[in-house]
């Protein structure tokens, strides 16, 4: 059984220099396993994940830069292997739309508050003369009703 496990989780010889770089690189990829588990490689526990992590390590050991590793992975597994959308073309929409939508929301909320803050159309105030006239009419109405 041990050998089966070893086959599943065999990991290359770790050296201090690439271990750090590998930690930086792995979060940039999704697990490209044939089952399409859809998890980030960093988090994935499927039986193939360790192999892909090992592949990142081997590519880094071979002297490739971060960009080189990314290119190799995209070439081999397709663009879906990258954990972030490309910051160009239609991929830019992913970065631009959320802040634009939130900015629009803030503007709408600010405009609403501004509109609500405007005092309502003023009704002409009552003068002393109006009040006197109203009181006289009330008296008249009361006397005509006998109260």
């Amino acid at each position: 059984m041990k050998s089966l496990f070893v086959a599943v989780w065999v990991v290359g010889i770790a050296s201090g220099s690439w271990a750090v770089s590998m930690d930086d690189m792995v979060p940039e990829f999704m697990c490209p396993c044939p089952d399409q588990c859809g998890k980030a490689l960093e988090v994935c526990e499927c039986s193939d994940a360790a192999g892909y992590k090992n592949e990142v390590a081997t590519l880094l050991q071979s002297g490739l830069t971060a960009d080189g590793v990314r290119e190799k992975f995209v070439e081999k597994y397709g663009p879906a292997v990258l954990a972030s959308p490309p910051a160009r073309g239609f991929g830019l929409v992913a970065y631009l739309l959320p802040p634009l939508a939130i900015g629009l929301g803030v503007l709408i909320a600010a405009a609403l508050v501004r509109r609500w803050r405007r005092p309502a159309a003023r009704v002409p105030g009552l003068t002393d003369r109006d009040i006197r006239r109203a009181e006289e009419r009330m008296k008249k109405w009361n006397s005509s009703n006998g109260s």
């Binding site: 059984m1 041990k2 050998s3 089966l4 496990f5 070893v6 599943v8 989780w9 065999v10 990991v11 770790a14 271990a19 930690d23 979060p27 940039e28 999704m30 399409q36 588990c37 859809g38 998890k39 980030a40 960093e42 988090v43 526990e45 499927c46 039986s47 360790a50 397709g78 663009p79 879906a80 292997v81 990258l82 954990a83 972030s84 959308p85 490309p86 073309g89 239609f90 991929g91 929409v93 992913a94 970065y95 739309l97 959320p98 802040p99 939508a101 939130i102 929301g105 803030v106 709408i108 909320a109 600010a110 609403l112 508050v113 609500w116 803050r117 309502a120």
Partner: protein
Amino acid sequence: MTYLGEWAIRFDLAVVSAGMLAGLYGIWKRSEFFLEAQRRALVLSAALIATATISLVWAFFAHDFSIRYVASYSSRQLPLGYCLTALWAGQEGSQLFWLFVLSVYSSAYLWVHRADRGDLPYHSTGLVLLGVQHFFLSIVNFASDPFVRLWPVPPDGNGLNPLLQHPAMAIHPPMLYTGFVGMTIPFACAMGALIVGRLDEGWIKKCRVWTIFSWTILAIGILLGGRWAYDELGWGGYWAWDPVENASLIPWLTATAFLHSVMIQERRGMLKIWNMTLILLTFLLTIFGTYMTRSGVVASVHSFARQPVLGGMFLAFIVSVAALGAGLIGWRYRALRSENRIESYLSREAVFLFNNVVLLGLAFAILFGTMFPTVYEMVKGSRISVGPAFFNKVTIPLFLILLVLTGVGPTISWRKATASHLIRNFSLPIAAALVTIGIFEFWGIRGLKAPAGIGCIVFVLSCLILEFARDSRARSASTGEGALAALGSLIGKNRRRYGGYIVHAGFAITALGIVVSSGYQIQQEIRLSPGQSARVDRFDLRFLGLTEGRLPNAEFVQATLDVVSGGVPLGRIVTEKRLYEKTEQPHTETGLISRLGYDFYVVLAAWTESGEVTLQVYVNPMVTWVWLGGGVLVMGAIICLWPPIGKHK
């Protein structure tokens, strides 16, 4: 027994259809007879769904592999406890469980509000509940039948996904479902009020209480999910922005927005249309979340159940409900107009409004990120991925703004805050936050994001502590009570307000755990032979050796280590890898020493025949505070929900 369950869900479709017709006619003609018939249909439906659910669970315990669902998700070796959790392991059982929870909620609604039986909104709410129940019954009967038979009957089943064989799986999915499904009740109350045009305070009170309840349960579900991921997935973290995790967080965010804006409606008679929209949106998002994870539209670890027919049914339901809901809001537009106006940007109403924008912005950003691979595929024809790096980038600034508003909201006054009020309430918290950031800078502690986050958290907690201190001092002065007694009676006398503050404190504590554990995590890979030692941060590990063994349904290899810090033994850690026989899936059991200040977390990554092991070691500072804060948050919510003692309706 299983035939009984099968026929119960078939018959129930007829019962619910008849109940809906009775309800429609009863509301139209104001006929008590038909309204009562609808109520009884809802009760009978709950009994039938319970029968179907119990019979499926019984089939798991009896290893009845003539049922395809049982054969797909269990085996004879499956421990007895997991025969129950297997109910929600796959799509068909999950839908039946959804229905079961909904029927329990519907019955609870009928019972809790039984005093309102003479009121029309009570019945119109029941009609909406029947409508939602009808949709899920159609799913279970026509698209996702859990009682499909197999012939010949296989001698054994396929077994349960090992990731689901964890005690948290017994609580986490039911909690998520209970939270998700619970959002149906406020939706039904709101739509019921719109149908009959009774838009007074009644519906909003019911809505608020049921939303707080479901929101709390959903929060517990999300936190338990994080704990499960932390214990079981072996990558040292608890949130991976998986579509299923996102699906649970998005409606929780919109429900949070509703719980804040509803206060403006209750207090100032404003934002009525907005609140109706939020309730509708939250319900739609719970359905969309179920759709996202069940239809296969988004690739996910959880999308083990993909069916296009099912997706089509969900989509049709979502579009219909959105159209009906929007139509009803439009129909009652005049009755939903605001009674008041916001007087100042510096007021609690304005802060709540901006808090709503941020919460909805977060929900939108997460939903958009989750769906972007599908949108991209539709536009460009190829598929891309959106992983944790993207979500962190987009959401962290918004969460920071939300944190600040969490402190400002409870302390700023309604209508208009004066300059002296602002200085009195916020000068000390701002100073505390700046001093905290200054300390981090002075000591040269790495990073900028984490100190900024911690500064925001200090601000929030200072605001809340000051508010509690001021109010309890005032009470103590007026009643002569001691400080603690005054604090206790303050909370007891105004549970909703101070319970809410405790919820905010819980949120801030959880945020503290997240910021510190992710900002200052230490990760190291080490290789050790038996008897060798290594040092990670301030911890010394001594590897004792490897052990092999067998469980009833799996083989395992264990590495045992002793951990010492500063000469003090912390304990023995055992980390293992399991290989489940039926599924042949490997699985990690992490080794963990958990303290309030840090977690020492070890994962067995690989080993050789000679007994040498490769270990992934993580030191996660203050990670326990994530769940501790969750506990405080739930406690605050319970205080909010606790009914007044000695008062009867």
